[in-house]
């Protein structure tokens, strides 16, 4: 088997890359180890409205619920409400990720990409040091798939990057370890994504409640790896649900575990190789959101592949327009938010409560950054010291 490009993993990063590569004339194969694209879902399913601007998804079947905004609850329960515009990356839609992923795959297929299911990558094909394809296993049969470019869209536990010699191992402090129930028989009157913060609630992370409908929500938790212990996320989540009068009534129709990289991005290109999505750590280190980055980076990767095929050049330099492209699109934001994450981790519950108390009455869509900081500091002067590093970052950005 010989293709221009073989893409490992049929999540959003893989299928969007496949679509745009195929549209620009490349012969594309996507391999997926699972038997159904998007299943099992490993995601909180909150996606930004930004995806509307890109028009990559047709129809509305993938939308479960449209959000009006987000609410953040500090450890003492003080609520800060954010409109959809301000809430940014993670609120907009709550989606059905299985349908979402399958719709993106359909588009890739329509563009001419071929998708091979039940096919697990087991190594890279190399000629001396040069990458010339992927070794894979479909059921018990071994396949050698030759391609000029290999794309690793194989998620948080990416092996493709590692096999190509890129340091992909995550430090536990750069991983959110997660689990989530989809609870039915609860009340979700408001279309708000709720976030609960606190060292006792979710160390180094948060608990989320994302309503998928009037009586159903994804209720999940992320705990920072270095602050977690065996089974801690599930224990804390069960505890939270059992103490919440509304959620306590619910019964689960789905339970899942997840792992989200909250790291600095790693190198995303080598000769004959591209990484997109979680495998390249293209995730917002504060929110843990990655879908929009997959779509944005996937499109750039696909177009870069198209050009490389046209030129018949597959070296790192030719592929570098992909890396430059995604870094321009959202690389700075990831870098900045990684620093913000580090600062936030130092905030104790008392500081978070003070912050929330200062912010709770502010109308976010009307206020400037300067006005915001002034309001914060007037109410709780001691916040000034804590916020100084954040102000430094925002003035540099």
């Amino acid at each position: 088997m010989k293709y221009d490009v073989v893409i490992v993993g049929a999540g959003p990063a893989g299928t969007v890359t496949a679509r745009f590569a195929a549209e620009s004339g490349a012969r594309v194969l996507v391999i997926e180890r699972r038997q159904e694209i998007g299943v099992p879902v490993l995601c909180g399913e909150g996606v930004s409205r930004k995806i509307d601007d890109w028009g990559m998804l047709e129809g509305k079947r993938w939308i479960a619920n449209k959000m009006e905004g987000a609410r953040i609850f500090s450890p003492d329960g003080t609520m800060v409400s954010l409109s959809a515009d301000m809430a940014g990356n993670e609120t907009g839609y709550v989606v059905y990720r299985d349908i979402f992923d399958q719709e993106l795959a359909r588009q890739a297929g329509k563009a001419g990409a071929k998708i091979l299911m039940n096919t697990n990558a087991i190594g890279l094909l190399k000629e001396k040091e040069k990458i010339i394809g992927v070794k894979a296993k479909q059921f018990e049969e071994e396949l050698e798939i030759e391609a000029d470019i290999v794309v690793g869209t194989d998620g948080v536990e990416s092996k493709i990057g590692q096999w190509a010699g890129i340091e992909t191992r995550l430090d536990p402090k750069d991983l959110e370890t997660c689990c989530q129930y989809t609870l039915t028989n609860i009340e979700c009157k408001d279309a708000f994504c709720d976030f609960y913060l606190g060292k006792k609630i979710a160390p180094g992370g948060y608990i989320w409640v994302f309503p998928k409908g009037k009586d159903i929500a994804n209720v999940g938790i992320g705990v920072l790896g270095n602050l977690s212990e065996a089974g801690m996320p599930k224990k804390l989540l069960d505890d939270f649900i059992s103490k919440n009068p509304n959620l306590k009534k619910g019964f689960p129709v789905r339970f899942l575990a997840g792992a989200v990289p909250v790291a600095n991005p790693i190198e995303s290109i080598r000769d004959n190789l591209i990484l997109v999505g979680d495998s390249a750590r293209q995730v917002d280190p504060i929110t843990g959101g990655g879908i929009t980055h997959c779509l944005e980076a996937g499109k750039i990767a696909g177009e870069t592949i198209g050009k490389a095929v046209e030129l018949q050049q597959f070296d790192k330099e030719t592929l570098s327009s992909y890396e430059t492209g995604w870094k321009e699109a959202f690389g700075k934001k990831l870098k900045r938010n990684y620093m913000v994450k580090e600062i936030f981790l130092d905030f104790d519950d008392k500081t978070l409560n003070m912050l929330a108390d200062s912010l709770k009455d502010i109308k976010f869509d009307e206020i400037s950054t300067f006005g915001l900081i002034k309001a914060l500091v007037l109410k709780h002067p001691t916040l000034l010291m804590k916020l100084r590093p954040l102000m430094k970052i925002s003035s540099e950005a």
Binding site: V156, L170, L175, G225, S228, P261
Partner: protein, 66 residues
């Protein structure tokens, strides 16, 4: 008896991949929709045990006692 090696309870594992991404020895991999340990590579650091959100990984010593 050596130090306990990691073992994944396949009945509990939900294939999130967290353990694979933090293993310093590349001793874990996904197979058949579950994580598996390559025992010869495991150095008993227990990072995977701590990272598992649902407690699916535990230590097992050389005599196979859990």
């Amino acid at each position: 008896m050596g130090k306990p090696k990691a073992i994944v309870d396949r009945k509990i594992c939900l294939a999130c991949g967290g353990c694979i991404s933090v293993c310093p020895q590349d001793a874990l991999y996904m197979y058949g929709g579950r994580a598996l340990v390559t025992e010869e590579k495991c150095i008993s650091c227990a990072i995977c045990i701590r990272i598992c959100p649902i407690g699916a990984i535990s230590g097992r010593n050389a005599s196979n006692e859990i």
